[in-house]
Structures are given as C-alpha cells and as structure tokens.
C-alpha cells in the first residue's frame, strides 16, 4: 500500500542491527522488550557489539540471548554477577554486563551481587525492578511494596511477617567498589531516553575501569499485575516511582 514510503530517508524509527530479527516472547506492554531494545541501541551506537559479552538471568529475560546478537551466557538463578566476574577477569578488555530481575538480583543473588560490587568488578548490572516475580507467575519479590498484592501475599505484603521491600541500589551505593548507581524507568518515552543516557555512561565508566555500576530500571509486569499495558505503566508512575524515586544515587564525579 504505502510500500513506496518505506525508504531509509523517511525512517523515524528502526530496530537496532544488534537485535536479532525474531519476535520476542515477552507479554504485550512488558518493560523487558523496551530495555532490551534500548540496551542494544546503545551497543550499536557505541559500535561495541563485537567486544561485548552479556549475562542473562533466570527470570522472564532468561531468553535475552535469543534477541541480542552479542555473545552471552545464561546464568543459574541469581548467579549472574559471579558469572560476569568470571568472564570479566579472564576477558579484561571486553565490555561485560548482567541483566537481572529483582528476584534474581535482590533475593537469591544478593550475595553474588553485593560481593561483585564490593570487589569493584568492572562490569555493570541492569536490574529490572518490576516489583514481582514474572516468570513464575506473580509471587512476592524483595521489591514488592508494602500492602501490594501478589499470589504469595494475596492480602497484601505484611511487612511485619514478610519483611520490608529491599532497596538494594542505595545499599550498593555505600560500597567503595561501586562507581555508579542510578534508578531509571521505562513507563514513558522521556524516561526511556534517560535510561539510554545512563547506559551510555555505564559503558563509559566500564571503559575507564571505575568499578561496578548498577542501573535499576523501574519496570512493569502487566500479566501478573493483571492490568493492561497502559494501566501497568500508570501503576509504575503513580505507585512504584514514588517509592522508588528516579535519578542518580551515586556517580563517579561526586556522591
């Protein structure tokens, strides 16, 4: 129909060449797809696809290696930061990142994350905070907010018996080995742009070998929140972000 309009000079949007041409398994409206695309745009823009190695977690993004055309390893649940340590120590000239959900990073993998950060390992971690366990169908995550309902806190998270939400970003920011901690979101175009800037910085800091960097991304999980994509983003905006305020928590330039 309008085929004649599809020309290079008319394009306002394009899939980065670093993303493989396959359809993603993520639910409609899920933030994982947006973060994947943003990350691969950054890798493409920096021209580092041939010397970047990624680590996928156990969680909905376990299949990240099906989409990103860079070398990748899939880690056991929670162990991505240990795998990345192993990679980065023997490949000191490559860019290395992990991509992890909140269950993977802030529950089962807290130890590995904390110690990699404390050693100041030169890789960065993308931490998808969607407040819930996606892959296993909506159980309570360490990031689940007080009062928020999930399948394992159906009456809402009772902090007296289930513990408080864990704010791992600010905790990691205390460690001298950590260069950069920032919290971004993918609920709006403006926020995605900021996320992209943060990713560019994290690659730059890694190049300078400044230490461990963490990019927390406040994201959604429409399927398990039982919301439409639009509602899920409104939930991120109105409920998650007020509890997880966006912005830099620690930068190499100053605290």
């Amino acid at each position: 129909m309008n085929e004649h309009l599809i020309k290079e000079e008319n394009l306002v949007y394009k899939k980065p060449s670093t993303l493989l041409d396959v359809s993603m398994h993520y639910c409609p409206g899920c933030g994982h797809g947006t973060v994947h695309k943003t990350l691969m745009e950054v890798v493409e823009e920096l021209g580092i696809e041939s010397n970047t190695i990624g680590v996928a977690p156990v969680g909905c993004s376990v299949f990240a290696y099906n989409y990103m055309n860079i070398d990748m390893q899939q880690a056991p649940h929670g162990r991505a930061c240990a795998i990345a340590t192993g990679i980065r120590r023997v490949m000191p000239d490559k860019y290395v990142f992990t991509y992890q959900g909140d269950g993977d990073l802030a529950a089962i993998g807290t130890g590995e994350t904390m110690h990699a950060a404390s050693r100041g390992e030169n890789f960065f971690t993308i931490f998808i905070n969607n407040g819930i366990y996606g892959m296993t169908s909506g159980q309570m995550a360490p990031t689940t907010l007080e009062g928020m309902k999930t399948t394992t806190c159906p009456r809402g998270r009772d902090v007296k018996t289930m513990g408080y939400p864990l704010y791992l970003g600010p905790i990691l920011a205390q460690l001298p080995g950590v260069a950069y901690v920032t919290r971004q979101a993918v609920d709006s175009v403006a926020h995605v742009r900021n996320l992209k800037k943060a990713m560019l910085k994290a690659f730059e800091y890694q190049k300078q070998k400044l230490g461990f960097c963490l990019i927390e991304v406040v994201s959604n999980c429409p399927s398990n929140l039982k919301m439409t994509a639009v509602q899920a983003n409104e939930f991120v905006r109105n409920t998650m972000i007020p509890n997880y305020p966006l912005g830099d928590i620690k930068t190499p330039e100053g605290k």
């Binding site: 696809e49 041939s50 010397n51 970047t52 190695i53 680590v55 996928a56 376990v62 299949f63 290696y65 990103m68 055309n69 860079i70 070398d71 990748m72 390893q73 899939q74 880690a75 056991p76 162990r79 240990a82 795998i83 990345a84 340590t85 192993g86 990679i87 980065r88 120590r89 023997v90 490949m91 490559k94 130890g111 590995e112 110690h115």
Partner: protein, 357 residues
C-alpha cells in the same frame, strides 16, 4: 626429567595448575584443601603466567565464576572439600548441560553434614552418579599419590576441553595433606586469544556475524531430548576411550582387593602381606571412577575366588564392582567411616575371616 620436589598433595595440585597453562582459579577456603588457594596466592601466578586467582565469597560464587570464565573458552579450575562441593552442584549440572569445560577437585572429608575434617571417600556416589540434578556424568579421576595429583590436573584440563565437559578430581584429605616426592612437568603456555574456540565460546563476537551463547535451557521437550541424546552419546564415547585403571599382581591372583585413591594404596600393602602368608591376592585400582573400568573386573571375575572391596565409606564403589561381575564371583566389602583410615592388617584380618576362615 622434570623438576623433582617434595610437596604436599594440595600444593602439588596447585603448582600443576599453574604449569598446565590454567587461566583462572576461583576458590573458597575449606579444610582439608585450603592450601590450594594459599599456595596459589603465595606464588602470584599473575606474575608467573598471567593466571587469575580470586578468593570468592562462597563456593556457589566460585563455581559460577568458573562457569563464566570456562564459557569464554579459558582453562579454569576450582577446588573444595565435601560441603563446598555440595554447594556447587547446581552450577556443575548447568555446565554439564551447556558443555562448559572446567576442572573441579574435591579433597574429600568425612560427612554427612559438617562431619569431620579427616579424610574420607564418602562422596563417591555424588561424584560418579551425577551429584547435581538431571541426567549427566562428569569424568572422575581418582589420584592415589601426590604424583597423580600433578598428572591429573594436566590430563583433566585436556579431557575437559576434548569433550567439552566438567572434569572432576576426587581426592581425599590424606592425599591432599601427605608429602611425597613429585616430578613436575615444564610450564605449558596459556592459550592465546586466537586459540580460544570460536565455534562456541563467548569471547566477544569479534568478526563473527552471529553471537555464541552458553545456555542449558531448552524449554521445548523435543529439543531438550536432542540435547540429552547428544550428552549420552558423548558419555558412551568417553566410556569407550577414557577408561583408566591400574592392576597389581593380578595375573595369578585367586583374590582381588579393590579400592580407589588412598584405599587402593592400602589394598596393595594388604595384598603383599596376604602373599607373604601364601594367599594369591592382586589389586585392581580404578583411576577413572567414571567411566568405571567394568571390563577389567569382568575379565578376571570368572577365575577368582572372591573380591574384597575396601573404601573409606559405607560401601559405594562396591555397587559398581558388583554390577560389573554379577554372580561370577563373590564380592565383599570392608570400610571405615568418619575420617578413619583402614590399616592393611585390618584388611587382611577381615579378608581371612570372610574368605579363608
């Protein structure tokens, strides 16, 4: 002739690791193998060969660091002792499935639980029958001398890379702690980046058009079964090509003492003592516990009056011996547990009580 030194088993293993061109070691302290990490830290292998040595925060982290570095096609090793090896099992299963080569040594101590720091062979089942979840095997080498601690490291790396599989050295606390004369081989150079396996390793894409990825996930059952068949075929090839064992005074033997590692050394002594008393006893010592040297037992079973299996556990390898010989000959067991080591005269006494009376 290589350099001769008097060395502790754990230190010999560590020195052999450096000389084998190892790229990285990740470990966590636990008795009776802490000398490995201490020796390496002291040697500063980064200066000697560029080898990375890192004390991890746990065995879980150590084995996953091994996964990461091994997935890059590098020569990588970790060591631990029984409780630490239990912690590593999930990642070992992942590596067996994703075909990540690496070398792991278990310098066994007595269990179950925290048990004792004294030597034991209680982890035979764990090492040879899987250990972690799923359907897999590791190649398992069982050193019985400090010299074999040295040789098995070099051989273990070669086997790991040849078959793209984790390889296991199953030693016990006594082999780790005892001092013996060893001959060391000359330094094998570490692999250059150009020698890393581009067919599968995550080295960074470089000039490749498509990525490499390391995963053990195959969510569709029909695809997973293809992987299962592939792994099983590999294990059959390993069984065919890599079975190793040693025999001692076996040709005229009426009886066989059998055991692995330290147990087999004691069996040799006990066999000599039995011969002095006029009983023709020989020894079979499996060097690979997986693949198990079934054929050598089968070869001699028909002409034997009996086999006495001696282990520092409640009777684990004996199941494989019985499976090998069926009802062709009588198989009896003698073992000590809890970190106790059987003495040759104990074995002889037990042998006479059961077989001679």
């Amino acid at each position: 002739m290589g350099e001769i030194r008097l060395m502790k088993g754990n230190e010999a293993l560590a020195e052999s690791m450096i000389r084998s061109g190892c790229d990285a070691y990740f470990g966590y302290p636990i008795t009776p193998q802490s000398e490995v990490l201490e020796y390496l830290s002291n040697e500063d292998p980064m200066k000697r060969t560029g080898m990375v040595v890192l004390q991890a925060e746990s065995e879980v982290a150590a084995i996953n660091m091994v996964h990461g570095a091994g997935g890059c096609g590098k020569r990588v090793m970790t060591t631990s002792s029984s409780p630490g090896i239990s912690l590593m099992q999930e990642a070992i299963s992942y590596m067996a499935s994703a075909e990540v080569p690496c070398l792991i040594a278990n310098v066994m101590r007595g269990g179950p639980g925290l048990g004792t720091i004294q030597p034991s062979q209680g982890d035979y089942f764990q090492a040879t029958k899987g250990g972690g979840h799923g359907d897999y095997h590791l190649i398992v080498l069982a050193p019985s001398t400090v010299q074999e601690m040295v040789n098995h490291v070099r051989d273990g790396f070669e086997l790991a890379e040849k078959y793209r599989t984790p390889v296991f050295i199953l030693a016990d606390g006594a082999i780790g702690q005892m001092m013996e004369k060893v001959e060391l081989f000359d330094q094998i150079p570490r692999k250059t980046d150009a020698e890393l396996p581009q067919e599968w390793a995550t080295t960074g894409r470089g000039s490749r058009k498509m990525r490499n990825f390391i995963t053990s996930l195959n969510i569709q059952p029909e695809k997973m079964e293809v992987i299962n068949h592939h792994l099983q075929e590999k294990y059959r090839t390993i069984e065919k090509n890599e079975t190793r064992f040693e025999t001692y005074k076996i040709e005229d033997a009426d009886y066989i003492f059998t055991g692995f590692g330290l147990g087999a050394r004691i069996c040799k002594k006990a066999a000599d003592m039995a011969r002095e008393k006029g009983f023709k006893v020989g020894v079979i010592r499996p060097i690979t516990l997986y693949p198990f040297p079934t054929a050598v037992y089968q070869k001699y079973a028909g002409k034997l009056k009996g086999i006495l299996d001696v282990e520092m556990n409640s009777g684990q390898m004996v199941e494989d011996v019985r499976l090998a010989v069926g009802d062709k000959t009588r198989v009896e067991f003698y073992g000590r547990m809890g970190g106790m080591i059987p003495a040759p005269d104990e074995i002889l006494e037990h042998f006479e009580k059961i077989f001679i009376k």
